[in-house]
């Protein structure tokens, strides 16, 4: 139960390769923070610096108010779950979980209580005398978590713990981690490259790219108010459609010029544009696939497109379309709103019109790719 504070943390390899740039973050007690980003963005390195497995090149890391830069991993009072589980292959499950306790010279009866308790929570009591080799991926994962659980540590670190599991098991374990969190009730730092995991697990998400923090915020924040193009595209699946468009002002009202359509930006987004006094001109326009709607006829607010691929997902259709300027985009259309004959008409090659509302639009600077209304 502790806070973690990273101040100006930097990681430099071989004197010039910078893996983590000026990382500042304060993690509150019992908070669940997820570091997310594409591979090579420095998220794992940051986690490993918190764990003490990597030297900190510059800056300080504090756990519970104490600077831990010079502490050995074992003295930092942390627990960690590794991507490949890192189970000791020559020890039984019981010995694996008991390992850290025994190193602390804990009496055997207490070791027994703790290990069996943890095993019970994780449902691996039947496998205690087996070696890791005899376990399935999910069971190994549980053992790895169990090993971290019994340590009663201040901070619980998880480095892509689900990435070695198949899709079905991953969903299941994700739910279990959410439950587990209620039972363990400690500070979590979780690293993943999967935005779904990040959105579902985290109290706060730290999105990283090339060693820089892009945005820190709650799942809702980063989804609705991405500070730049990278975050906007990274969060959400399928990813946000980005188009070149022009922002124009007429009579004090903002419009978006897109492929001949002129869509008014009304609602709170329009207010914000006005408030910020955003200059009209070329912009990058972002619209999430689920915010696009089909329209029957061509109107001033809609634009034409041609269907390339129609992916039927059950509750919705993913329509891959190509626009008149050759750009591609994806629209997610709930099937429930479509009449059967409408659905049948959606075959490759057909053309139709789509539109989006102003409040669903994201506006980014064409040069800096920063969000024009949120930061």
């Amino acid at each position: 139960m502790a806070t973690v504070k990273l101040t100006n943390v930097k990681k430099i390899y071989d004197k010039h390769v910078v893996a983590v740039q000026d990382f500042n973050l304060e993690i509150a007690d019992k908070e669940f923070v997820v570091f997310v980003g594409p591979s090579g963005c420095g998220k794992s390195t940051t986690l490993r610096m918190i764990a003490g497995l990597e030297d900190i090149s510059e800056g300080t890391i504090e756990i519970d108010g104490e600077v831990v830069n010079d502490l050995q991993p074992k003295d930092r009072n942390i627990a960690m779950v590794f991507q490949n589980y890192a189970l000791y292959p020559h020890m039984t499950v019981y010995d694996n979980i008991a390992f850290s306790l025994r190193l602390k010279k804990t009496p055997e009866d207490i070791v027994y209580d703790k290990v069996t308790k943890a095993a019970e929570i994780l449902g691996i009591t039947d496998y205690l005398l087996r070696k890791p080799k005899a376990l399935s991926g999910g069971q190994r994962q549980r053992v790895a978590i169990g090993r971290a659980m019994v340590r009663d540590s201040k901070v619980f670190l998880m480095d892509e713990p689900l990435s070695n599991l198949d899709a079905k098991l991953r969903n299941q374990m994700r739910a279990e981690i959410i439950q587990l969190r209620e039972k363990i009730d400690t500070t979590f730092v979780y690293v993943t490259h999967d935005q779904t995991e990040a959105m579902t697990l985290g109290d706060r998400i730290v999105i990283m790219k090339d060693g820089y923090i892009q945005q820190v915020g709650s799942p809702m924040d980063v989804f609705e108010k991405p500070v730049n193009l990278f975050v906007a595209e990274f969060i959400g699946a399928p990813k946000m459609n980005i188009m070149d468009a022009e922002l124009i002002v007429e009579d004090g009202k903002y419009y978006v010029h897109l492929l001949g359509a002129k869509i008014p930006v009304d609602g709170f987004k329009g207010e914000l544009l006005k408030e910020r006094n955003v200059a009209p001109g070329k912009i990058k326009l972002g619209i999430r696939p689920e915010h696009l709607t089909l329209t029957a006829e061509k109107s001033e607010k809609s634009f034409e497109c041609q269907l390339q691929v129609n992916e039927m997902m059950g509750s919705e259709l993913h329509l891959h379309v190509v626009l008149s300027d050759g750009e591609k985009m994806i629209a997610r259309i709930p099937t429930i709103n479509l009449a059967p004959e409408q659905r049948a008409g959606l075959v490759a090659g057909c053309t139709f019109c789509i539109t989006a509302e102003g409040k669903a639009m994201h506006f980014f600077d064409a040069e800096t790719e920063k969000n024009l209304i949120f930061d």
């Binding site: 020890m91 069996t116 090993r147």
Partner: protein, 507 residues
């Protein structure tokens, strides 16, 4: 004894867990033996059944076969030729002819002589005309034994081929009955580079092994039951079967007479001690060196490694002989130490038994570490790094990481290697022979031949008995005893190894 469930077992104290395991082990022993005997029994039963099946098969083939098949029982390959499988048939037939000719002209003689190993030895007669002794040679026990074994090989091969010939007929009839065409000569040749390619590949290597390894081995095993020696060499003086007499002498079963049991025990003990130290000093120190070189932050890794590897390249006889002379009474080391005034008289590196024994082990470390360093490096690099990271977080210090992770992992992976290296150290002729030649001499020991020294292993002792004194029969006895010791050790270790890895795991 109470059986514990898993959870109950886990609740036991360390000490009781250990006792429980031991108890389980002992309780399990009878079952283990029962299993073993069952296995042996069923192996015999299987063998009996397969022999019976074979005979039944041969009989039914004869009964149900056409005349081609029946004639093949006498004239091998007849059926195949008659059915158009010319190549097979001709080969069968040729083999039969060669066999018959060989047995009539030579084989019969060798086999008939085998029980006696020759009846008429060489005769030395005075030839009054030329006033000299003339030796006329008759039977040669050596050749009788050698060719006797070969003839038995040949007979076995013939029986196998005959059986094959019968089976071929049965198969051919079956195929013809089902209306398919038979494989002709062309197909036979083709299959030798395809489905039967393994036979082509193995033919030469296995023949080599059979003739130059297996046959000599059988011969030498049999020699242990004869009195073959420099004196009774078979040609000039026949040698003969003596039963277990040589084993009696070596192991002291018979009361009275000369026996070498005490000496054998002494040499065996030193051989085991040597093998133990030679294996484990190298193993642990090699691992240590590898870990030192691999440690993060160590510079010039390549240089250190290369320096050690170069020493592997230099032929051992040069380095060992040179080092041996370096430590001689009048050698470089003693010379320098005397010069510097560190010692008053030369150190007895090779002349004192304890010094010599320690020295061979130390120098063996010098020889062995580079090699072990290589092996250990390979394995250490395979240990997943996250195991160490996890252990660090779990609170293990460097030493605990070594004892709890590195060492178990290494032992786990290198178990079979340790066993083979222990065995090859038991038979490490080169190091002992080139360094000390067995010296210093153990005058008190009773040896059937050769001068036995304090650093002599069984293998060098055997060499001396055989080569210096030509007591081949005694050398064979020691060879057989070494074989027994080695196989017993291997059996025990193999059954104790945590996991014999499945070879398919790697594919």
């Amino acid at each position: 004894m109470t059986k514990y469930t898993e959870l109950e077992y886990l609740k036991l104290s360390k000490w009781r867990k250990f006792l429980y395991k031991i108890a389980c082990f002992f309780v399990g022993i009878p079952g283990w033996f029962v299993n073993l005997f069952k296995k042996i029994g069923s192996a015999f039963k299987d063998f009996g059944i397969s022999v019976k099946d074979d005979f039944v098969d041969i009989f039914t083939t004869f009964k149900n076969g056409d005349y081609k098949t029946r004639l093949s029982f006498v004239i091998m390959g007849f059926g195949s030729i008659a059915r158009g499988q010319i190549l097979r048939g001709v080969l069968f037939l040729l083999f039969e002819l060669v066999f018959i000719v060989y047995m009539i002209f030579w084989g019969g003689y060798w086999i008939s002589m085998l029980p006696s190993l020759g009846t008429q030895g060489a005769i030395k007669e005075y030839d009054p005309i030329y006033d000299t002794y003339v030796t006329t040679y008759y039977d040669d026990s050596f050749k009788i034994l050698l060719y006797g074994i070969l003839t038995i090989f040949f007979i076995v091969a013939f029986l196998y081929t005959w059986r094959l010939n019968v089976k071929q007929n049965a198969i051919a009839e079956e195929i013809l009955k089902s209306g398919k065409p038979l494989k002709g000569t062309k197909d036979d040749l083709k299959s030798l580079v395809d489905e039967q390619f393994h036979k082509t590949l193995l033919a030469l290597p296995l023949t080599g092994i059979l003739v130059f390894t297996v046959m000599p081995m059988i011969f030498m095993i049999l020699v242990a039951f004869t009195n073959y020696s420099g004196e009774f060499d078979g040609k000039n003086n026949l040698f003969s079967w003596v039963g277990l007499e040589n084993f009696n002498q070596m192991l002291g079963w018979s009361a009275g007479g000369v026996n070498y049991a005490a000496t054998f025990g002494e040499v065996l003990a030193w051989t085991l001690i040597w093998a133990f130290f030679a294996t484990f000093t190298n193993y642990f120190l090699g691992m240590l060196v590898a870990m030192m070189i691999n440690k993060k932050g160590i510079r010039l890794k390549k240089v250190w490694r290369t320096i050690l590897i170069v020493t592997i390249a230099v032929p051992q006889f040069i380095s060992l002989l040179y080092v041996s002379k370096m430590f001689a009474q009048d050698g470089l080391v003693n010379g320098m130490l005397l010069d510097w005034g560190w010692i008053d008289k030369a150190l007895p590196f090779w002349t004192d038994s304890t010094w010599a024994r320690v020295m061979v082990i130390v120098i063996n470390i010098w020889i062995g570490i580079p090699y072990l360093m290589l092996i250990a490096t390979g394995i250490l690099m395979n240990i997943p790094q996250d195991l160490y990271e996890s252990a660090k977080i779990d609170g293990a210090n460097a030493f605990q990481q070594y004892t709890k992770i590195t060492l178990p992992y290494m032992l786990f992976v290198t178990g079979p290697y340790l066993l083979t290296s222990f065995i090859s150290n038991m038979n490490n002729f080169n190091v002992i022979y080139l360094l000390t030649g067995g010296a210093p001499t153990n005058a008190a020991a009773l040896s059937p031949g050769g001068s036995l020294g304090y650093t002599d292993l069984l293998i060098t002792w055997l060499f001396k008995i055989a080569i210096n004194d030509s007591k081949f029969y005694m050398a064979s006895v020691i060879g057989i005893l070494v074989f027994i010791v080695v196989s017993v050790i291997s059996l025990i270790v193999y059954s104790l190894l945590p996991s014999t890895r499945n070879e398919e795991d790697f594919q």
